[in-house]
């Protein structure tokens, strides 16, 4: 017990540190002396050096700068689609859980249907037609990722509304809106926080896959998925080009998952020592 929690604290610390670095890098990307899209054919395929920390790619663009800008894309897509899907999912779950049986059943079957749809194909199709940009990517990703949150929230609301303190508040004259906004939201927030963290991870993964397939962020703008796709051509001659974006995706997603898991353990009253 003690040993696992020690490992957990360590991995949580490492994850937080890594996420802090990536976030800081994404925020401060503008300080880099290079333009991420500036082609410089004279200095292509350079090895890492003092001037180019991660070297340059096949167009001579500074790879470190591109990683920073790519991180900006990944993090903002992750955070924004998390916000959209969490907000919508929470509201949907609360409405479903606090409505009558029939409305609840209809709303939940709709969730089941959306969950059964192979979302990735649909996201690609929509991105093709919607003229992909950051906003549309966020929208299409969150369109198919709010259902899990809705389910969690609905289940919590169903159990919450039978609790004495909800009844007590009604007994003092509380209306439905008050119950939802003053009593329910805060009580579901811990589960929602865990779901939110995990949803950032999956949104980043989806965005990277989209960009890798060329349906996400448009080239020449940098994104980790797009850089990975670009590096694929030179995988035999210059494998390091694939390693940087690949590692970034891997570590970021991993860190968010570790964070989500730790949050779950920390926020769960039953698992506290």
């Amino acid at each position: 017990m003690k040993k696992t929690s020690k490992i957990m604290t360590l991995s949580l610390k490492l994850s937080l540190a890594f996420l802090a670095i990536v976030t800081l890098g994404a925020l401060l990307a503008g300080l880099s002396p290079y333009d991420p899209n500036q082609v410089d054919l004279l200095s292509k395929f350079q090895d890492p050096s003092g001037a180019h920390w991660f070297g340059t790619d096949n167009f001579g663009r500074d790879y470190f700068t591109r990683i920073l800008y790519g991180g900006r894309v990944s993090l903002s897509v992750g955070a924004l689609s998390m916000l959209v899907s969490i907000t919508f999912g929470t509201l949907y779950g609360i409405v479903s859980g606090s409505s009558g049986r029939f409305v609840d059943a209809v709303m939940m079957r709709f969730v089941d249907i959306l969950m059964a749809v192979p979302s990735f194909l649909l996201i690609i199709t929509m991105n093709v037609y919607l003229n992909a940009s950051l906003a549309t990517t966020v929208l299409t990703i969150s369109l198919f990722s709010w259902m899990g949150v809705a389910r969690i929230v609905r289940a919590e609301v169903l159990s919450l509304r039978e609790r004495d303190f909800i009844l007590a508040s009604r007994g003092l004259g509380a209306g439905k809106g008050w119950i939802i906004f003053r009593h329910m939201i805060k009580n579901v927030s811990s589960s929602v926080m865990v779901a939110a963290t995990n949803s950032i991870a999956s949104a980043i993964l989806t965005e990277s896959s989209l960009s890798y397939l060329g349906f996400g962020i448009k080239i020449p703008n940098a994104s980790w998925g797009g850089m990975l796709e670009n590096a694929q051509t030179y995988i035999l001659t210059k494998p390091i080009l694939a390693v940087y974006p690949g590692l970034c995706i891997l570590l970021t997603v991993l860190s968010f998952n570790v964070l989500g898991n730790s949050l779950r353990t920390i926020l769960d009253p039953k698992s506290r020592r």
């Binding site: 609790r163 009844l167 007590a168 003092l172 004259g173 509380a174």
Partner: protein
């Protein structure tokens, strides 16, 4: 003139197995500044009856099928949701059995007490806070100013029940429904909480409807006792009448089943059998199957309420002799 007049109240719960007739033709009054105790074993309909006075029957899945509850000249059972919201907390409030779950664990208690003011009174936040502090002081919470900022888990069970009482009394309701307020507490704290309820009743001039299955709790507090069995009232009267001149065999069985300090060494009396199920309640006296004095007549027809004194009513064909504990 009584504060509440409950007449012919019937409440049903639709379930998969059939309709549960939880409360059948219940009539009684609650006077001003009076403490009425509703006594009976689990599942006899006492909580359901009491909750209907707060309009929480529908919320817990039941349905009032007949009867009226007159309060200030109005039948409150015909209220719509808006009127109920205005009435709850303002005119009548309820405190629940388990103070551990009756407070929102994620909200500071100051805010929870002030809730009532936001619903019914148009006062500023600082005024509400000052009033909440007064209430906490009134129910005997030490350091009320600091306590406002605390969360429920920082209080013990007895303290939480005090907070719940403060919350219920915030808008000075005329009726306080106390649904087994001390069942979850240990005996010494029980006495303190009951004392508090009595003191506050004298101070605030409110009435109390006390629900309990513990006759000991009732004795020191109530002016009037209503004994319920299987959804009906079997006997009601003043506390003295019920305790010393109980005429219904169920009432007397209940009294004998309470442990006594002077009955050392004797086996505690029990009432054999189980109460009838309320999906198909018996047509006759519901207690007939467990009653030593029952005859064929008892099983056939529900006995009428018989008045044995101006305040004492019994629903029994073969009443126990006058003279108290059998």
């Amino acid at each position: 003139m009584s504060l509440y007049e409950i007449r012919d109240l019937s409440i049903e719960f639709p379930t998969h197995l059939g309709t549960v007739h939880a409360v059948r033709n219940v009539s009684f009054d609650i006077g001003e500044n009076e403490c009425v105790a509703l006594v009976g074993e689990s599942g006899c309909g006492k909580s359901v009856t009491a909750r209907s006075l707060i309009g929480l029957t529908e919320v817990v899945g039941g349905k009032v099928t007949s009867g009226t509850v007159t309060f200030e000249g109005e039948n409150i059972l015909s209220y719509n949701e808006k009127q109920w919201q205005n009435y709850r907390g303002n005119k009548a409030a309820i405190i629940f059995q388990d103070a551990m779950t009756a407070l929102n664990p994620t909200m500071r208690i100051g805010k929870q007490i002030a809730e009532c003011f936001t619903f019914h009174q148009n006062i500023s936040r600082s005024e509400a806070e000052a009033k909440a502090e007064e209430l906490l002081e009134m129910v005997g919470i030490p350091n009320p100013r600091e306590a406002l900022r605390r969360y429920p888990h920082e209080f013990s069970g007895g303290m939480r029940q005090r907070v719940v009482i403060a919350q219920a009394l915030a808008c000075r309701p005329s009726l306080l429904v106390a649904d087994e307020p001390t069942t979850a507490l240990d005996v010494t704290i029980q006495a303190q909480i009951l004392r508090l309820l009595v003191d506050l009743k004298e101070k605030e001039k409110n009435s109390i409807l006390l629900i309990t299955h513990d006759l000991g709790v009732v004795a020191g507090m109530a002016q009037k006792i209503v004994v319920m069995y299987a959804g009906t009232i079997v006997e009601m009267g003043t506390t003295d009448e019920i305790f010393y001149h109980g005429r219904h065999h169920y009432t007397n069985g209940l009294k004998e089943a309470s442990p006594r300090l002077d009955g050392k060494g004797k086996r505690l009396h029990t009432i054999e059998g189980m109460p009838p199920e309320l999906i198909n309640p018996p047509t006759g006296c519901p207690f007939a199957d467990r009653c030593a004095h029952a005859t064929e007549e008892c099983r056939e027809k529900m006995p009428e309420m018989t008045q044995v004194s101006p305040t004492h009513f019994v629903r029994c064909l073969h009443m126990a002799e006058e003279g108290g504990r059998a």
